[in-house]
Each structure stands twice: as C-alpha cells, then as structure tokens.
Amino acid sequence: MATHVTTRAEVQSATTPPTSAPGLSQRLRSAAPMLSFIARRLLSSAVVLIGATFIVYMLLQLSLDPLEDLKTSTAPNKEALIEARTRLLDLDTPWPLRYLGWLGGAAGCVVGQCDLGASWVTNQSVLALLSTAIPSTMKLITASTLLAIVLGIAVGIASALRQYTGFDYGVTFLSFVLYSLPSFWVAVLLKQWGAIGFNDFLRDPTYSPVATIGLAVLAGLIWMALVGGDRRRRAITFVVATAATGALLAYLSLTQWFLAPSLGIVGVAVTGAAIAFAVSTLASSPGNRRALYASLTTAAVGVALYYPLQYAFVNATALLVAGLALVAVGVGLLVGYLFGGADRAQSMRSAAIVGLGVGLLIFVDRVMRVWPAYSNASRINGRPIATIGSQTPNLQGDFWVGSLDTFTHLLLPTIALILISFASYTRYSRASLLEVMNQDYIRTARAKGLSERTVTMRHAFRNALIPLATIVPLDIAALFGGAIITERIFAWSGMGTLFLTGLHNRDADPIMGYFIVVGTMLVLANIVVVFVYAALDPRIRVNA
C-alpha cells in the first residue's frame, strides 16, 4: 500500500490496468470510458433532479393554496377576485400539466433561455430574485465555511492526537453540545450578548482584574491540556500561557484598545514571526532549516512593506487588495525558491502561506484603523456590531469603511454558522485521524525512524483528510440553501429569505427557483465527491 496518497488528479478507469507511471497514450485511451462515465453520471443526476423537482412541485400544490386569503375575504367582488387570480395562475389547468410547462421553461436554462416564472405577489421574475439572492448567500457562507473547516479540522486533529485526555473529552463534550444546540436559539443569544452586550461594553471598554485573571487562567488551562506532556512541562505551559494572556488582556483594557484597535507594526511583526514559526514547523520536515529561514524572511519582507503599503491603501479597491494578496503569495514563492534547500517545494509552500498570512495581518490592521471613524459615524452611533441586514444603509465612507461595515454585519451570522458546522468537522477529522493512525503504514513510517511530527503531518494527516474531502462539497451545497434560519434571524436577504418569503406568500415559482439552484448544487457536489475521492485515493476506481 502506498505510504501516502498521490496527488495526481487522474481517475483511471477499471478497464486500464493501473501502472506506476501511465504514459500519454494510456491516458488518452482511458479518456474515452472516462468521458462516458461522466456523461452517464450527469444523465442519471439530471433524471434524479427532474424527479426531485416533480416531488417538490407536487408538494407545493398540495400544501399551498394561493386562493386562501380570498376564500375567507369579505370583499363584495370576492367571486371576481377569485376568478381573476385563477386566470392569472392558470389554476384551472391540472397541476401536472402546469408542472410540464414549468419544466419546459426551466429546461431552457440549459440552452441559455431561462424561464423560471415569476412571483405573482411582487411580479419580479424568479431569475431576477435569484441573481440578487445567490451573491448575498455566498457572501454569508464563504467565510463561515472556510473558518469552520479550518478550525474544525485543527481541533479534531489535536483532539485525536491527545486521545483520552482531558482535552479530548472536553472537545468531545463540546462538539456534542454544539450538535444539540438549536441554531435559532443560539442566534438570538448571540444577538443579545454578542451584539448588544458588546456594544454596551464599548461605552467603557475596560474590565475588572477578576475577569482578566479568570480569562487568563482559562486560557492557561486550555493550553496546558492542548500541549500535554509530563507534569513539569504542563506546569510551565500553564504559567507561561496564563501570564501571556493576562498581560495581553490587561494591556488591552488599560489602553482602551477596543476604542481604537490596531495591530501596529509591532503587532504585525510579532504575529508574523509566530505564523512563520508555526507554518514552517507544521509544513516542513524537522531538519529543514531553509523552510524556516524562508518563512521568516517572507515575514520580514511583509513587515518592511508595512509603511509603504499604507500609501498604496489610500485609494484602495477590492481589486487592488486581491492583487496584493496574489503578490504576497508570489513573494513567498519567490523567497522560498531562492532559499531552496533540500526540498525546495517545502520552502516555497511554507513561505507562500506565511506571505498570505502577513498580508492578511496588514489588511486587518488597516481595516481596524478606520474603527474609530466608523464607530462614531452618525449612522452607527457607537453601536458598531450589527444585528440585522448585510450593510448599513446610507453609510458614507471609502473602501475601508465599507469593508469594516461588511465585517461587522457578517460577524454574528458567521459565528452562528460556524457553531453549527464546526462540531461535525471536529468529529469527522478526529475519527478519521484515529483510524489512519492505526494503519500499518503509520507503523512502518515510525519503524523507519521518522519523527513523530513527520509521521503525523506527512503520513497520517494527509490521508485523514480524504474522507473529509468528500464531505466538504456536500456541506457547501447544503449550506447554500440551508442557512434558512440564520438568514431569517439576521434579516439577511439571501436564498433562505427567498424561500421563506415565497412560502409565506404561497408563491410557488420562487420556491421552485430556490430548489432548482440548491438541488443542482447538491447533485453537482455529489459528482464532485466521486471524482475527488477517486483522485485522492488510488485504491478507489471509478467504475466505467
């Protein structure tokens, strides 16, 4: 069995015998059954999707009565109103025939002539509704999905590596609690404490020494459980972590940092160096000093560019920031390439991640700097954390104020969404890593004298990610339509709101439009899963 998974994104069909290095001709030969597999898979998915739209249409006809309000109406021209609406919605035609009409319009989407109908209440076409709802939902779920995946996997891995310790039990219990939390309840609590509480706190952003000490001890305990080791090491970890957290909290409180937050060049430098150490430790083999030097150099370059960048940021646009992010990665790759070393790819990879990280720090710092101006703006009036909507109406300001406004609106829904999906990622990655750590090839890796870190990061961790790679696409597709409750509570007008408004108005076409998007995403995600799995795990072959 392979020690770890080849990343060659190539799915060999069962008809071609697997070879260690397939030549070009072989790849071409395997392409034909591959194509036929894709075609058949797409076809059967289309059939499933059409069947599902039929079920939904049927349920909508059974559940929703568009004449409901008129039937109980006391208007003198009641009969005429009913008559008019029946004609408008074509209710005299049996619904299976109306479904065929809808399907014909929807099938036009394949050839670029979409007709998904229109909302009869607002007269807006479903396409127009979708084109505003989809970007809005994507904005909502992107950050939370990424953060939930990264955090969930990190915590799950840490928990698996500390199996049967206090930390592991704590994480397991926490994930069970998160599993059991109703999202609507959490969201209302978040609004109450996260927004209203924090905004109240901002009037006088200092806290008592008791709170400082309590939080510091808590942080110390968490770090102690996380780092583990013998009694002496744990004691040292506890003292250091408690002291560091306490000092940081006291500093933030005494300087009223929350009124005018910023990292400053010192903060960027310290955090950047920490990122450099962490990334090069995790992403390169232990003996590879070059990766560390490359990472530190990249961080230093970032810090050196801190002041020049402030000038570039004056008239910033989203495009410029995205371009700078690419440049940051490019600088990292270049520095890594120049340092080279035994494993050039490792150095480049570490340095690129560090470059992106430091770039992000500088960006965050710049956004933080508009905080006082934003917070004191007349529209905000000292209560910056928003509880509803996706932006403050009529807010004056440049790109930075706009970005900060988006972040303050995204904060609470993002936390709510992370809390929901974090638990499942933790559970999956924990179980997956434990499974992998019991495999024979891990024993082989240890037996040949590799360090525990190399075994974990290069042999176990990568293989443990394979099952997760099959869950992530489905989760993203589900989130696309599944943020119904979160959107409702935070008054975010995305896909979920589109659905709920449609249901409330007994308006079938927008709901069908909602479903065709969500259903297509799910079906496509299912296909992606099959290919990702086959590409990542050479033991799995796609049956052509």
């Binding site: 059967s44 059939v47 499933v48 999707l49 069947g51 599902a52 079920i55 939904v56 349920l59 909508l60 059974l62 559940s63 929703l64 049967y164 069970f176 609690v177 599993y179 059991s180 939390l181 109703p182 999202s183 609507f184 309840w185 209302v188 109450q192 750590m437 019991n438 891990i442 024993r443 240890r446 037996a447 589900a478 339509g481 599944g482 119904i484 409750i485 409702r488 659905f499 709920l500 249901l503 709901i511 909602y514 479903f515 969500v518 259903g519 799910l522 079906v523």
Partner: protein
C-alpha cells in the same frame, strides 16, 4: 477478537497493555449473548447512562406534571390558563430566597400571566411526541426500503435507490417547511408523520448497504437451503444482524428530528399557537428577551437537554454495538487481568 495494535516507541509497556486488554475483552464476554454484551457495554458508558437517566426524568416530568391527554397531572396550572401575575413582570418564583424554593410559578409567567412551567412542559410533550413519531416511522420506512433494495437487488434496487436519491436531493428543512405550512395546524401526530415521510433516506441507504453484505453470508445460504422464504430470511435472519446499525442511527435520527421540529415551529411552519411546542415558545417569546428572558431560557434549555441526551445515548449505543471500539481499561481491571 483482534484489536489493531499500534506501536508507540515512547511506551515499551504498550504491547503488554494491548495483550492484557485483549484478555480482558475475551474474559468479560465469555458465555454471554450478544444482547447482554451490548447492554453491559452500554451500562458502562458513563455519559450514555447519565443521559438515559436525565432523559427518563425529563419524560416523566413532562408527562406527569400537567398530565397526558385525559389523565390529570399534579401541577396546579395549565398551559393556557391566565393566572394572576405573582412577581413583578412575571419573574420566576424559583430561586434562593433564604433557602431554595420553587413557588407557584418556577419558570415565571408571560405578560398575560400564563404559567411558564406548564407551557414548557406542554411544549416538551409535543416535541417529544413528534420526535418519537419521526424516529419510529422514519426508521420503519427506511428499514423496509433499504431491506428490499439490498436483498432483492436488480431493478427494484435501482428503482428504490433512485427514488431515495430524489428525496435526498430535497433539503429536509425546505420540504419540512412546505409540509409544515399545510399540516402544522393539524396537530403533532400528522406533522410528525409527514416529517417522517421525508427523513427516512439515510436509514434506507445504511440498511441497504448492511443487507447487501449480509446476504452474501453463509447463514443466509443455510436458511435458503432449509427452505425459508424471502421475507423470513429478510426479517428473521438478516434484520437482527443489522440491528446495531439501525438502533444507533434511529437514535441519531431522533436527535436531528427534535431539532428539525423545533426549527420548523420556530419559523412558524410547525406547531403553531395556540398549541405549544418548544420551538413555538421560543418564536413567541424571542421579542420579549430583553424584558422577560426566562420565557426564552427554559424552552431552549429543554431542547438542548433532550437533543444532548439523545446524542449521548446514540454515542453509547454505537460504542456498545461496535466491537472494534477500543476502551482503556481502568487500573483496577488491569491489575485483575
């Protein structure tokens, strides 16, 4: 029984530990039936046992306090009766006022004097009832569909699985809301039945997979040679062997069912006023959070407790049914072995 061994270089005692663990495993299951083994393992799972006890207490409290159907309970108030407001603003009377006391309205009252405790108990009853209906019915449908597909294979399998695929493509919360908009007012039994009709898919897939592997086993051949009919083989021989997977997933299904029902009731597409469910209570009282937070706290706490208990029981069951699970034996047991 083989336990996968790991070699941990730092720990030279490890292999002996593995062996003794094996010895313990073998010794403790000697001469016991499968059911007994599972029960023993479950009872030893501390989290699951605590959860089972707490859930039993919640069920008892909810059913006896305000009564169930025609049976009267011991609690003096009813969910809908308007009482005089005791504390200012309807504050809970439960608390430490010179010693712990419950008082006439332990969970407080709302703005028109309805008793919080009675309402939360009524909501718990409804939510538990719907959870049980969904759990039982969806499991049954899932078993039947999955068993037929996995055992008969061929075109029946194809047909059933494509149908399952179709249903699985529709998000549960969406189809639940559509059905709830129509059947929510018709009471918990019909709502639960309708929700069960859309939540059976995962169970069907799991049972199908289990049946596909079971039907290749020798005992199935033996039963067929002995002249057993298809239905007898399916339900007498194979189903008991798939019970572990089924029970575990039925539990997890119930945990998600209560969250589904409360979410729908919260959105207004499940149980609606004047009837009471835990989600409906949160919906009704969320705007009163600033003035009467207790109205909001208690229903939420009950949802979390029930879902948490069911999840823990499911975890305990999974550990109990899955012999590959490894446990660390206590020091005392190690010494005995």
């Amino acid at each position: 029984m083989t336990v996968p061994t790991t070699l941990v270089p730092e720990d030279p005692q490890h292999s002996t530990l593995e062996q003794s663990e094996n010895a313990i495993e073998l010794k403790e299951v000697e001469g016991l039936s499968q059911g007994r083994i599972v029960l023993r393992r479950f009872v030893r799972h501390r989290g699951a046992m605590v959860a089972a006890i707490v859930l039993t207490l919640i069920i008892l409290l909810a059913t006896t306090s305000i009564g169930w159907g025609p049976i009267p309970g011991w609690w003096p108030h009813t969910p809908q009766a308007l009482n005089d407001v005791v504390n200012a603003g309807g504050k809970p009377t439960m608390g430490f006022d010179g010693g712990f006391q419950v008082g006439p309205h332990p969970f407080g009252q709302d703005n028109i004097g309805r008793d919080g405790f009675a309402r939360v108990m009524r909501g718990t009853q409804q939510s538990l009832l719907i959870m049980a209906i969904i759990g039982l019915l969806a499991t049954t449908i899932g078993i039947v569909v999955g068993a037929l597909a996995g055992f008969l294979r061929g075109w029946i399998d194809n047909l059933l699985m494509r149908f399952t695929d179709m249903v699985i493509t529709i998000p549960v919360i969406m189809v639940g809301a559509i059905l709830g908009a129509r059947f929510g007012k018709a009471g918990p039994v019909l709502l639960g039945t309708m929700l069960a009709l859309v939540t059976w898919t995962t169970m069907a897939r799991l049972v199908r997979g289990e049946f596909m592997s079971l039907r290749e086993r020798e005992f199935v051949d033996a039963a067929r040679v002995a002249g057993a009919s298809n239905s007898r083989i399916m339900f007498k021989h194979m189903l008991p062997n798939a019970m572990g997977v089924i029970i575990v997933n039925a539990t997890l299904l119930m945990a998600s069912a209560i969250l589904l029902e409360t979410a729908l009731s919260y959105l207004g597409f499940g149980i609606t006023a004047p009837d009471v469910s835990l989600g409906q209570l949160i919906n009704e009282y969320q705007s009163a959070f600033a003035t009467r937070p207790w109205l909001f706290w208690w229903p939420g706490l009950f949802i979390v407790s029930i879902a948490l208990c069911v999840n823990f029981i499911g975890d305990g069951l999974r550990d109990a049914f899955d012999p590959r699970q490894r446990r660390i034996p206590s020091k005392r047991k190690m010494a005995k072995a």
